[in-house]
């Protein structure tokens, strides 16, 4: 059980407290992991939340890659520790090479904030423990760079290995193969553009993110 979740905070991160609130509402514990420190405080799982780490200057995630905390997270992930990158966190994971491909600007060349439907394409990962392939979820997106790309052979390999975690049912950003989220080979590292922490309250319009966070807490 991943009772204690470390939530990474870079200068420019802005979804860290939303993520912590959502975890605590599910009776999980959450700790802030400051980007400049390599100590992971013995957490059981890690979330790299959304925002604009280091202002997203140069390129999304390109500077975050060099923050000391990322070396520790890479080792943690290679040892099988559960890691979820949400939005900017997904971008950071592709920059450090824990996930393949890259997120380029949306096809419409505009920032997009909207509720989006996604579908589980694979459940053999830390987010899919309580789901079935084909389950549909309403989860908000909020990004300018969410248009996933990778080399054709990488896509073929990921599809063969069931590593496409989520696909959009109505692709908002031009993402290759409607990809909204992917995982590594072991399934312990997941990156997704939609924000599950924003779908955890009926008052706010969706509770479909709860199952994903519960799955992470149970991983």
């Amino acid at each position: 059980m991943s009772q204690r979740i470390g939530v990474v905070r870079f200068p420019g991160t802005n979804c860290e407290f939303d993520t912590i609130d959502a975890i605590r509402a599910l009776d999980g514990e959450a700790e802030v992991l400051w980007h400049g420190q390599s100590d992971l405080k013995n957490v059981d799982a890690i979330v790299i939340p959304g925002g604009f780490a280091h202002g997203d200057y140069l390129r999304c995630g390109a500077i975050a890659k060099f923050s000391p905390v990322m070396d520790s997270i890479t080792s943690f992930a290679e040892d099988g520790g559960p890691v979820l990158g949400i939005c900017n966190g997904f971008q950071v994971l592709t920059e450090v090479g824990l996930l393949p491909g890259a997120l380029q600007k949306n096809a419409g060349m505009k920032f997009l904030c909207s509720m989006q439907q996604i579908e589980f394409a694979s459940t053999s990962n830390v987010l899919g423990q309580q789901a079935s392939v084909g389950d549909r979820l309403m989860i908000p997106i909020n990004h300018f760079e969410g248009n996933y790309v990778c080399a054709p052979e990488v896509l073929t390999e990921m599809e063969a290995e069931n590593r496409i975690v989520f696909r959009y049912t109505d692709n908002p950003n031009g993402s290759l193969a409607d990809i909204a989220g992917i995982c590594n080979q072991a399934g312990n590292v997941v990156g997704m553009m939609p924000h599950p922490e924003r779908a955890t309250s009926r008052l706010l319009g969706s509770t479909d993110g709860i199952g994903l966070l519960r799955s992470l807490l149970a991983a």
Binding site: G36, K110, F111, N142
Partner: protein
């Protein structure tokens, strides 16, 4: 000594009049030097001193038991219970946005956010009421797209959600767009700090970005003069500042941490008039003086002149007043957030603001701090109603090419293309977001994030058409409209902030508009028991000597007392009763000031429909309570475009239509008689609801039933909902979405 300066062209070039020079001479009892003149010129600019409007603003109500801080501080603050306070402010960034749309809008967001965290509050919401020239004008589209990108680019990155606003296109804003930005924040009441310097020997620490040559004299050069089409306006581009949202984000987090740890006794943001404003305002508010060492200011460029350092409007800077023994701690927090911190000043007991070349060096300027702030001139400018007012009011606004179906289709516009570019969900508070009547946010305790079970509602509104026809009644209707918007989400008003966008105050007709608008606002704010707790006046909105239509914009903040269920949407449910609530329009109701008259009929004048303010108060209270009691299946207020546009928006939202009895002529469909709502009530509740309305003295008329796939007015006007939706969804993406031309 003679009061006449050696060279009058110096002070005139800085935007000071000869009379103002003389006033400075009398205050100092000597001739000011160039640096001192530059400091007076920015602080006595229209933008900073409100010298033309102050005399009128005094007529606004500003008091209520829940008001903690009223006008005059960086933001207004109200007590919302549970030891939680809310800070709110609205500002304009019109002139910078006309010159450089992206940066103008971006720095507008940055500036208003600093006003909020200056008070000790974490900013949690931005709203952006925007007004541009005609949508078929390429330059206006270029400005619109740049402004929207600027709000999106800065607001999203700095990490504050943009939860609502307006977008209006009209000929009157061609060449002079209105970019207003509202920000709201929450704080533990005990953390409230004011922008004042006290304690002799305390240090003034400049935090954040380095000071550069950007935005020098922005308030005096840009914000306090109109535009013409000469090349000179292009030359004003260096007076526009450049924003860095990442710097602002780090500055915000660092300042909130300094405040949390109790390290700051006073704090002030640097906006218009830069260091001059921040040092003189903090000193004069604290009844103190200050010595400022210009050589200590961390500068972006070498060889900057003292007047440049003192008047630069470089963004993302704050001035904190701290105790000397806390300096190391302040520096440690600043270093962690990677922001610069320089001790640039020391609080003194003299009342003088002295600018020094090194703390022990030459005195470059020495002024009584309060003279920059409190002794600014106050003008009673000439006022005159338009000479042809009688003729204008006699016009019949109902004439024009009547074609109800196509008229309705042409009046529909979906703002989603705009707000989908803004993060409007961050902080997990947004219960009702942009694209609805009012915005509704969960109110959570800023100490621990716990829900209070209550909601904060916001709305911004303006209507240049109503205010052009009748600035007094039009402004009262604008305030009512904002209150009605928050009623739709179950909230009642607590306070108002305003942004008064007007033309050239040297034109007596503009001052008449301003005076009338202030009176209309005062009447409405008294009626709704919502004091004005802050605001901003933007004058000289003119192009080629043509003033914009008067555009007072208000932001209303209100409270939903028990937020357990989302309020009803605006969408029609199937098979229920459609009611018209509120003031019954005159039998010969006028179309004057309506969107139909301006955009289709072509008449911009006439006399507004009668407006019963007290009825609007009763109706909006009744609607707010009905929403709280969950008695309504749908609710929408009637505003621009009248009943027909309101009904169409309700149909588009859900996909279900309605059959409306009568109301099938263009006057009934499109008049904008105020104080009205469309409400949908389930059959089982209908009798009780009607009785309840009667008991509250709120007219409620059943005008039809919801359901079906078309929206019908009478038996002749039948429009498929799909056709309404197509017209609604396509306008903005087609005009703005495919790129525009910079002409």
């Amino acid at each position: 000594m003679s009061p006449a300066p050696e060279d009058a062209s110096v002070h005139r070039a800085l935007g000071l009049s000869d009379d103002e020079y003389q006033r400075i001479y009398e205050l100092l009892e000597r001739h000011p030097n160039h640096l001192e003149l530059a400091m007076y010129s920015v602080m006595w600019s229209e933008h900073c001193s409100y010298k033309s409007s102050k005399i009128h603003l005094k007529r606004l109500p500003t008091q209520a038991p829940w008001v903690l801080v009223g006008p005059g501080e960086n933001a207004g603050v109200i007590d919302v219970g549970d030891d939680i306070a809310v800070a709110i402010r609205i500002e304009s960034h019109n002139h910078p946005s006309a010159i450089e749309p992206y940066q103008g809008a971006a720095t507008g967001v940055g500036g208003i956010l600093r006003d909020i965290f200056t008070m000790g509050a974490r900013p949690i919401a931005v709203m952006d009421p925007l007004r541009f020239g005609p949508i078929d004008d390429p330059r206006s589209r270029w400005i619109a797209e740049g402004v929207i990108s600027g709000v999106s680019g800065y607001g999203n990155s700095v990490g504050v959600p943009t939860v609502g606003g307006e977008i209006v296109f009209d000929e009157t804003y061609k060449g002079n767009p209105l970019v207003n930005v509202l920000a709201m924040g929450v704080l533990p009441t005990e953390r409230l700090v004011l922008g004042q310097a006290s304690g002799v020997g305390n240090l003034a620490v400049l935090l954040g970005a380095s000071t550069g040559r950007d935005g020098i004299g922005g308030v005096s050069v840009l914000a306090s003069a109109g535009f013409d089409e000469s090349s000179e306006d292009i030359d004003k581009r260096p007076s526009v500042q450049v924003g860095d949202p990442f710097e602002e984000k780090r500055l915000l987090e660092a300042c909130l941490e300094l405040l949390d740890q109790g390290l700051v006794s006073g704090i002030q943001d640097l906006g218009g008039a830069g260091i001059t404003c921040a040092t003189s305002e903090t000193a004069s508010r604290g009844g103190a003086g200050m010595d400022v060492d210009v050589t200590a200011i961390h500068a972006r460029e070498n060889n900057m002149e003292p007047f440049e350092l003192m008047t630069s409007e470089s963004q993302e800077r704050m001035l904190a007043i701290i105790k000397p023994e806390d300096l190391a701690h302040v520096e440690e927090i600043s270093a962690r957030w990677e922001i610069q911190a320089s001790v640039i000043g020391r609080v003194t007991g003299t009342g003088q603001l002295r600018i020094l070349d090194g703390f022990d060096g030459d005195v470059l300027a020495s002024l009584p701090a309060s003279t920059l702030h409190d002794d600014a001139p106050e003008y009673k400018r000439p006022i005159a109603p338009p000479a042809d007012l009688g003729e204008r009011r006699a016009q019949d606004a109902s004439q024009g090419p009547v074609d109800c179906i196509n008229n309705l289709l042409s009046l529909l516009r979906d703002p989603a293309w705009v707000y989908s570019q803004y993060d409007h969900q961050l902080f997990l508070n947004t219960v009702v977001g942009p694209g609805n009547d009012g915005t509704l946010l969960r109110l959570r305790n800023p100490r621990n994030g716990q829900e209070t079970g209550r909601g904060i509602a916001l709305s911004t509104d303006g209507n240049h058409r109503w205010c052009h026809v009748d600035p007094r009644q039009g402004t009262a209707m604008v305030v009512a409209e904002a209150v009605m918007n928050i009623a739709c989400v179950g909230a009642q008003p607590l306070a108002v902030v305003n942004c008064l966008n007007f033309g050239n105050p040297e034109h007596p007709e503009v001052m008449w508009q301003l005076a009338e608008a202030v009176d209309g606002m005062a009447e409405a704010c008294v009626a709704f028991n919502a004091p004005v707790i802050g605001g901003n006046v933007s004058l000289y909105n003119e192009t080629n000597a043509v003033d914009i239509a008067p555009t007072p914009v208000v932001g209303v903040i209100g409270m939903h007392p028990s937020l357990t269920t989302p309020p009803p949407s605006i969408g029609f449910p199937p098979n229920a009763s459609l009611l018209l609530l509120g003031q019954v329009p005159d039998t010969d109701v006028s179309l004057a000031g309506s969107q139909w008259a301006w955009e289709i009929g072509g008449c911009k004048d006439g006399t507004l429909p009668t407006f019963d303010l007290q009825q609007a108060v009763r109706t909006s209270q009744f609607v707010a309570e009905s929403v709280q009691k969950q008695q309504l299946l749908a609710i929408h207020d009637i505003a621009e475009g009248g009943l027909a546009v309101a009904a169409a928006e309700m149909a588009i939202d859900s996909g279900f239509g309605a059959q409306i009895v009568d109301h099938c002529d263009h006057v009934s469909m499109f008049n904008e008689s105020g104080g009205r709502f469309l409400a949908v009530v389930g059959d089982e509740l209908l009798d009780d609801f009607l009785k309840d309305a009667k008991r509250h003295d709120v007219p409620a008329i059943q005008i039809g039933r919801t359901g079906g796939t078309s929206l019908n007015f009478g038996t002749e006007i039948i429009i498929p909902v799909s056709e309404l939706e197509t017209a609604y969804r396509t306008e903005l993406p087609e005009a703005l979405g495919l790129g525009t031309v910079n002409t």
